[in-house]
């Protein structure tokens, strides 16, 4: 890596706290695997050696929301399950991001029906909508890279005294 080479030559590097914090934050996104149905199988596949989500620093799927930055909602969200998803999302510490993985999660998909929420953006702030039924693991990795880009653009000091909806606006600019 370039960093070691630079340290060998110069003995030091210069950077800003913002860049350093953003770099470390984007390189270790810890996902909350909210696997509700078949998309979860592809989410698991993205962790296997063939696709290897560890290349992007996200191999630590935490099964407690309190240690996560990114919620991957993978599967059909029914009205009954929506309350559970929201409860878990609320337990995640700020700042946090959401991937709506697959057609069902993004729009209800083929379940145009009374019991399925027609898109989780009705109750969660979604950062990435991921197409596919289910999306291939490469597609999930692509979404992760996009989330990393988004996190990287956020400056650490933006988070001071800000509430999450304000931050979302900042990030989207």
């Amino acid at each position: 890596m370039g960093l070691e080479a630079k340290l060998k030559e110069e003995g030091f590097i210069t950077t800003t706290i913002d860049a350093l914090a953003a770099w470390s934050r984007e390189s270790s996104v810890w996902p909350m695997p909210m696997g509700i149905s078949c998309c979860a199988i592809e989410m698991m596949a993205s962790g296997d050696p063939k696709y290897d989500i560890a290349r992007f620093g996200s191999e630590v799927m935490r099964f407690t929301p309190r240690q996560c930055d990114l919620m991957i909602v993978a599967g059909t969200v029914t009205y009954k399950m929506a309350h559970v998803v929201k409860k878990i999302y609320d337990q995640m510490p700020d700042p946090k991001w959401v991937i709506a993985m697959g057609a069902c999660t993004s729009s209800g998909g083929m379940y145009r029906s009374y019991n399925v929420v027609q898109g989780i953006d009705q109750f969660l702030p979604v950062d990435i909508y991921l197409a596919g039924c289910p999306p291939r693991p490469d597609n999930l990795l692509n979404a992760l890279i996009q989330i990393q880009d988004k996190i990287g653009k956020t400056k650490a000091r933006d988070f001071q005294d800000k509430k999450l909806p304000d931050l979302t606006v900042l990030q989207n600019n």
Binding site: Y79, A82, S113, Y114, N115, L124, P125
Partner: protein, 163 residues
Amino acid sequence: MNLKELIPQKLLENFPQAKFEFVEYRGDLSVKFDKEYVTRICRFFKEDPELDFRLCEDVTAVDWAKRKNRFTVVYHIFSLKHNFRLRLKADVDESECSIDTVSSVWKTADWHERETYDMFGINFNNHPDLRRMYMPEDFEYHPLRKDFPLMGIPGSLPLPKKD
């Protein structure tokens, strides 16, 4: 003796007052009777040593929307001894909308009846625990009825608030 001949014969012998309708369609026998007899007939099917229908595969209902007897409750039962599958039917009118439970005969009918209650609003008398199976407990409608809109009734299922 062939079970398709034995069943009508036995039923007519044991329940002389009841009215039966026997229909054979694509090799499967259906028996239709009045709903008052449902528990007794089901117990007979299970406990008669020659029939031995030990397995209740499904309890569900059909909504005919505009017919005089709006609902038909359907039971699929299976005899492991004879490898024979039988369909039982009983009409239920909308005004009463109730039928006796068969969960005292087959334990597994408990949840099937709860599901039928949830989806069609048919009450099962003497059921030990008639609560909704799928929908939230405070939900007011029965989704598989023909007059329930496919996309549901707006506002009937609350979503969590978006911050």
